[in-house]
Point group: C2
Chain length 411, copies 2
């Protein structure tokens, strides 16, 4: 809505604007509404629709994590706490990353944030001033571009290539997109919505680009555990970086531990930035509830069986959905190498925004239109397969039926 | 620390700067560290010090609020939720404000935020662009100025008058501080740290100023219940405003319900701003945990006895501390009309930053130096009296002893 509102002084004959809106800064008024929300609102108003539009699984947070938070609440951990996070949680994060990536980690590199979104916002605020540019391989999760717009920076989408093996980086295109105002590149791997996973060669090439041009890398490896290739986890910048590379890792508890609703994440950054990050947290939300952090510690320390179960479940979901849709012969899909989304096209359908709305009515399935993910997303639909087998089978049945021409009416 | 770091390119002979810091945007590097933290760190490293520096009471969140959140956790309310807040909480907020202020309220005016600090950040982001000015009656809580600096805006402190009746607004000085770039005025009443409470005449004058110059009013009335005059609550902009005035109310659950550590607050704003505020929340933290919001609903619906007890306790604390210190004949104090801080001077002591450090060592009492609160704060110390009688009596005993010249050594 706000993007279409006049933001300057009204001229005669212009539509009436609430005077409040005319006093809101232009770059804020111009922030886009999420393109997923249109379909969600349309679908929620109908009922009977299976919602596969959001980036979350169907399992609640496991009990051992909920109980750890509840115990801390019961113990009265309700006072102000460290702006950088509980020392115990920062230490647990260092141990977790060290275990997962086989590198030594210093707890002083870890900063607890009120969501992965806030970690991104803090990273962008350090790296990007008004008018400065952020390279964003595209299509991508729309909140990254919006977070840059929010601080007056300029997101520069750089489309992936798309071919028979799916989405791939075009490193020359990335290089050509660098200008004198470029300050950072946002690298999400495994990627939402495409399922793309950067290889070590890709990461080395990005690192070389960043070094050549003095750019920050904002590394979003939140789906690093959801990887369907060899090695148990996706390739990471940690595997190829040097200690003095300028990389800010944004992270979240949302996906691995089914904690989407908690709003807790972390930023990993060089300790030299500690006071700056502390200030940015202090002046935006002033920390994260200590009792939530106790839940996060439990997730890191006792959560491996749950993560393994989640990843296995997503892998099975991916196989089920890909096999069922491929069998229709009416879709364009490459099984994703990582994350938990299938990003696919439907033969003969080009207007995916309208298609997503039609699928709500005609197949009772809610998918996110690729157009919500920026340039390169047109022609695709996103389906979240971090779901149980029964629901995914029903979704596959409905979509296959619809694709076979058997259009269904709402029950 | 960051304020003193060179932010431009290094010249020969300049001290070495971590290369990471040289790539952080200047206005972010220049964000001030809280001036309270220096004394806190000094005091915490010693032990035996009674900490009166922070703006929080000594009671944990009451059990009925903690239990409401724990029940929601147990019930698995751990998924993404409404960006504007649970509809039940928004409705409860409307009822609460209607009850307290005797005005009709629309739930669509209420937006749940991840702290009062975030409510301020959202309000400032709408109202202030880079280089635009915010009037701040001063001394004041330092985070307001820092939140403006964080988005590249310019806080303009406008000192209060100080006389025999304590701090008062100088409305002419406020008027003279308005420039072509002024966009908003931040009005905190009852005020931290001064205890100043704006009269209805003050509020009318500010409102007239804002109307004359087309300014937003950011109204911080979070201490509105902590009022020691007649009427049960402090005068509010709600008592004098018209429906079309441009006022954004920033609020928090922290003080009334002893929920400082939860990080949950709200913004009250014209519903026309709804989508803009939703976007700003979406792209900064993406909402507040639903289980925390269940605690907040309990606070609003069942919390009146606790609030009454808290306010009575603060009033008793104020009377105790004011009487004990006044009896020494060595302090300059006016009993505060609201909030829960005593802001007082010590005869013959001018360097309050040093004085606060000395009091840690010599009286084992931790106070915040007035210099932490901006222009007009020099010469004062802040003492939080939202504490139990035993602790306040001991603090009064230590300070009175010290003031009487009986300097104490650490035990």
């Amino acid at each position: 809505m706000p993007a279409t509102l006049p933001t300057g002084p009204q001229r005669a004959g212009a539509p009436a604007v609430d005077p409040c809106l005319s006093r809101v800064r232009e770059h804020v008024l111009a922030l886009p509404e999420s393109g997923i929300v249109e379909v969600m609102n349309y679908g929620l108003a109908r009922g009977g629709v299976i919602p596969m539009w959001a980036g979350e699984g169907d399992l609640p947070t496991p009990a051992f994590i909920r109980h750890a938070a509840a115990r801390a609440l019961e113990a009265g951990e309700t006072f102000y706490t460290w702006q950088r996070g509980l020392p115990e949680l920062r230490a647990a994060l260092a141990r977790y990353i060290a275990r997962l990536y086989g590198v030594a980690e210093d707890p002083e590199r870890f900063f607890v944030t009120g969501s992965g979104m806030q970690a991104i916002q803090v990273a962008f605020t350090m790296a990007l001033g008004p008018g400065e540019e952020l390279l964003l391989p595209s299509p991508t999760w729309p909140n990254a571009a919006a977070a840059a717009l929010k601080i007056g920076a300029v997101p520069v989408p750089v489309p992936f290539d798309y071919g028979p093996s799916g989405f791939t980086f075009d490193h020359d295109r990335l290089e050509r997109a660098v200008t004198a105002r470029t300050r950072a590149i946002f690298v999400n791997t495994p990627a939402n919505p495409t399922g793309f996973v950067a290889s070590h060669d890709d990461l080395r090439a990005i690192l070389a680009l960043a070094r050549r041009h003095g750019l920050w890398i904002i590394a979003d490896e939140i789906y690093g555990r959801f990887f369907y290739g060899e090695g148990g986890r996706a390739p990471s910048f940690r595997d190829v970086m040097a200690e003095d590379d300028h990389i800010l890792f944004v992270q979240t508890f949302s996906k691995n531990w089914a904690m989407t609703g908690w709003r807790i994440g972390w930023l990993e950054a060089p300790p030299a930035l500690g006071q700056v990050i502390e200030n940015l947290i202090q002046y935006s939300t002033s920390g994260v509830a200590a009792f939530m952090q106790r839940g996060a510690i439990a997730a890191l320390e006792e959560g491996e069986p749950f993560v393994a179960e989640q990843v296995a479940r997503a892998r099975a979901g991916r196989d089920l959905v890909c096999a069922a849709l491929a069998a229709t012969g009416r879709v364009d899909l490459v099984p994703p190498a990582g994350a938990f989304y299938l990003f696919f096209g439907v033969t003969g359908e080009t207007d995916v925004r309208r298609l997503a709305l039609r699928l709500v009515d005609e197949a009772q399935v809610g998918l996110a239109p690729g157009t919500a993910f920026g340039p390169g997303g047109d022609g695709f639909l996103r389906l979240c397969f971090a779901r149980g087998e029964a629901q995914l089978s029903e979704v596959a049945r409905r979509l296959s039926g619809w694709l076979a021409g058997e259009r269904r009416e709402a029950p």
